[in-house]
């Protein structure tokens, strides 16, 4: 193994560990109706969910793989070899002291309880299929904010849950949203009452611990009229030789004048297929903003979207993707304008290192009958090595005369002269690379909360150490 590869291993060190865990509940490998029944029975779910799941399974089996445009690597997912449900129990603990020792050790090593104390309004920590811990600060709970797992949400708050569940992303949206519909477990359910502004972020941490496993969390966030909330998710998994699947569905609903900001820092290990469907609905004067950072995984396919359904709604996607050696980050954004005076903004920056490949895929749609709609799309790609690859597929459809759009794209490469210049000032080649890359995404990193931007910079530094030599 070359020196460069050795160093690349270090990148994953933080998440690359695993403690043995005894699973009380295991649905076995493969997916069929029995698997669904097992999950429903274990979770004690109502009939309408059982039906929802079975309908989703049917759609999943019917739908072909999206191979005509997507990476052929998808064919390497062997659905029969995957375990679809693994847990130690269904009820998350409200105190870290009650969390089983092996699971608690994992999250402590990832620094979650510490972050919670420092700057978060609430935390949910999911371990394989179920949340092991979920809690919000008392003051936030008193404002009527609900922050629980999806299982708890559908049982304890059916009147809100059922109204919006599966409405932003229909089950049959794509093969993987159907798969999630069939097997979903974990994820967050959040409701913020009218006018309540949650000042600190709520955070969920998704951890895959088991081999040959599929994690299918389902998140639903509803910000009622005039409410504001920021949600952050982080994720890691140990590195296995076999493929792991992560296929989430995330639905956001921002009612009149509400604001939802959803931040992701994805740092999956290099064996994870990360195939996620994320979409927000923005009503009148509401705002949905996705800040999406993809550093890890083997293949990520993720295009956060915003449907701007009410007049004056705003949608935004800020996306950073780092495709390391052997990785493919296929990311982008979807902006669906469905009302007058709606505004959307997409800023995407990708970095390709070694044989890494970054793909930007965008879809912007403004129909003819609307007026006063605006879209701005910027996508910039940075190539580090001569064998790195980037592709851009922007699809922008703006009809009618009263609408405007603007699109800019650039591809740049870190030049030898630039590296020499920095080396002449005393920086090593790796430090120089790292500084260039951090400079490239600097304006986007500022959008992240402080604690996350520091972490992001550290991850990039580590990734760049492996890119030279």
């Amino acid at each position: 193994m070359s020196d460069a590869q050795n160093q690349l291993e270090i990148d994953r060190e933080k998440g690359n560990f695993r403690y043995d865990v005894d699973y009380e509940f295991d649905a076995g490998t493969g997916l069929n109706e029995k698997t669904i029944d097992y999950i429903c029975d274990v979770k004690g779910e109502p009939d309408w969910i059982r039906e929802f799941r079975k309908d989703a399974l049917k759609k999943f089996l019917e739908k072909p793989m999206p191979t005509h445009w997507a990476s052929k690597d998808l064919d390497n997912i062997i659905f029969d070899n995957i375990r679809y449900y693994l847990s130690q129990g269904q009820k998350p603990k409200r105190s870290w002291d009650e969390v089983p020792e092996d699971v608690k050790k994992t999250f402590e090593r990832l620094g979650i309880p510490e972050q919670e104390r420092k700057f978060l309004a609430g935390v949910e920590a999911q371990f394989d299929s179920e949340a092991a811990y979920s809690n919000i600060k008392e003051a936030v709970g008193k404002q009527g904010v609900i922050f629980v797992g999806s299982t708890e949400g559908l049982k304890e708050h059916p009147e809100i849950f059922r109204k919006w569940f599966g409405k932003v992303i229909p089950t049959g949206d794509n093969k993987f949203s159907a798969l999630n519909g069939a097997t979903f477990s974990g994820g967050s359910f959040i409701y913020v009452p009218p006018g309540v502004k949650v000042s600190h972020p709520l955070q969920a941490y998704f951890r895959i611990n088991a081999e040959n496993f599929g994690q299918f969390e389902r998140t639903l966030i509803i910000a009622d009229e005039g409410a504001e909330v920021t949600y952050m998710e982080g994720c890691t998994a140990p590195k296995f030789d076999t493929a792991t699947l992560h296929s989430a569905v995330v639905e956001l609903v921002a009612l009149k004048g509400a604001k939802i900001q959803y931040i992701t820092v994805q740092n999956w290990s290099n064996n994870v297929f990360n195939l996620v469907t994320k979409r927000g609905l923005a009503m009148e004067d509401a705002e949905v903003k996705w800040i999406d950072c993809n550093i890890g995984s083997r293949l990520t396919m993720k295009y956060p979207g915003v449907v701007m359904k009410g007049r004056g709604a705003r949608g935004e996607v800020i996306s950073i993707a780092l495709a390391g050696d052997g990785q493919h980050q296929d990311t982008g954004a979807k902006m669906i304008h469905a009302a007058d005076d709606t505004t959307s903004n997409i800023v995407s920056k990708s970095i390709s290192v070694g044989t890494g490949r970054a793909t930007y895929r965008g879809l912007v749609n403004v129909p003819r009958h609307l007026k006063g709609c605006k879209n701005n799309t910027e996508c910039d790609a940075l190539l580090i090595n001569t064998n790195s690859r980037t592709d851009t597929y922007p699809a922008i459809t703006v009809r009618g005369t009263g609408n405007a759009c603007q699109h800019e794209a650039s591809v740049s490469q870190v030049s030898e002269e630039q590296i020499f210049y920095m080396q002449q000032r005393g920086l090593t080649e790796a430090q120089a690379m790292s500084l260039s890359v951090n400079g490239f995404i600097n304006d986007l990193v500022r959008e992240f909360p402080m604690e996350y931007s520091v972490e992001l910079k550290r991850l990039i530094d580590l990734e760049m150490e492996g890119s030279v030599g």
Binding site: M422, Q423, Q424, A432, S436, G439
Partner: protein, 254 residues
């Protein structure tokens, strides 16, 4: 006293030989100027000392206080105390001057040591005042959208912050108007001292009115053909380089 010694140096780029047996001894405490016509290899000399990867040293040596630096990476040479003020400095989008210089200084500290932020900024502001640079300059990206004069001032600011043992100034006067030239020269002169040696590369005598050299070397076709005191620069100004160019020699690249 330390010496930067260049010993019978031959350098090529591709098949083309640019430096053809160049020797020079620069001690700390002195300022040497290298003058010569375009294409004589002046800039090549500076880049080779700094370790630019495009050039191949075919024979000869570059010694930093007796130790050959030819096998060292550019960053290792830099940390040892060699500084090159570039004729055409690169842009680094998104990286501010403050962060860039901080990273450069941090790279010189032993592992585990952290640069002291208050001291750093105090020093940075002091040097910026010397070069008559406004404070908001620190938050601009390195060389991005800079005027020619700003680029050169920024190079000298970096030199002032990094305090090299040997500084190579490559055509620092090019693109400067007379006011900027005075400010930059003032900055350079303030860095002169017993612990610093400077090699000032220039095409025109003008710069040497402000940065007065101890020794002037005339470089033609990859060699030093004459060395003398500062009066030699005046002779070049008056008579041009024709007298120094051997008629049979073919011109070489930059």
């Amino acid at each position: 006293m330390k010496h930067l010694k260049i010993d019978n140096l031959h350098v090529s780029i591709g098949d083309r030989e640019i430096l053809r047996g160049l020797s020079l001894d620069l001690p700390t405490g002195q300022v040497h100027a290298i003058m010569g016509p375009n294409g004589s290899g002046k800039s090549t000399l500076a880049k080779v000392i700094a370790g630019h990867p495009d050039y191949t040293v075919t024979s000869g040596d570059v010694l930093f206080d007796g130790e050959s630096i030819l096998e060292m990476e550019p960053d290792e040479r830099a940390r040892k105390g060699i500084f090159l003020a570039f004729q055409y400095p690169s842009e680094i989008p998104g990286v501010t001057i403050a962060n860039f210089l901080r990273a450069a200084l941090q790279a010189r500290l032993p592992e585990g040591d952290e640069l002291e932020a208050t001291e750093y900024y105090a020093k940075l502001y002091e040097k910026m005042d010397l070069l008559e640079m406004p404070r908001n300059f620190t938050s601009r990206s390195v060389n991005e959208g800079f005027s020619g004069g700003e680029k050169k001032r920024c190079e000298i600011l970096q030199m002032a912050m990094l305090q090299p043992t040997f500084a190579l100034l490559d055509e620092t006067d090019s693109g400067l108007d007379i006011d900027a030239l005075k400010i930059v020269s003032h900055g350079v002169n303030s860095l002169r001292g017993p612990d610093t040696g400077m090699l000032v590369i220039t095409h025109y005598q003008r710069l040497l009115n402000y940065i007065v050299p101890d020794i002037v070397h005339v470089m033609v076709n990859g060699r030093i053909v004459e060395s003398g005191t500062k009066e030699l620069a005046l002779k070049l100004e008056a008579e041009g380089y024709d007298w120094a160019i051997e008629p049979e020699a073919e011109p070489v690249g930059a």
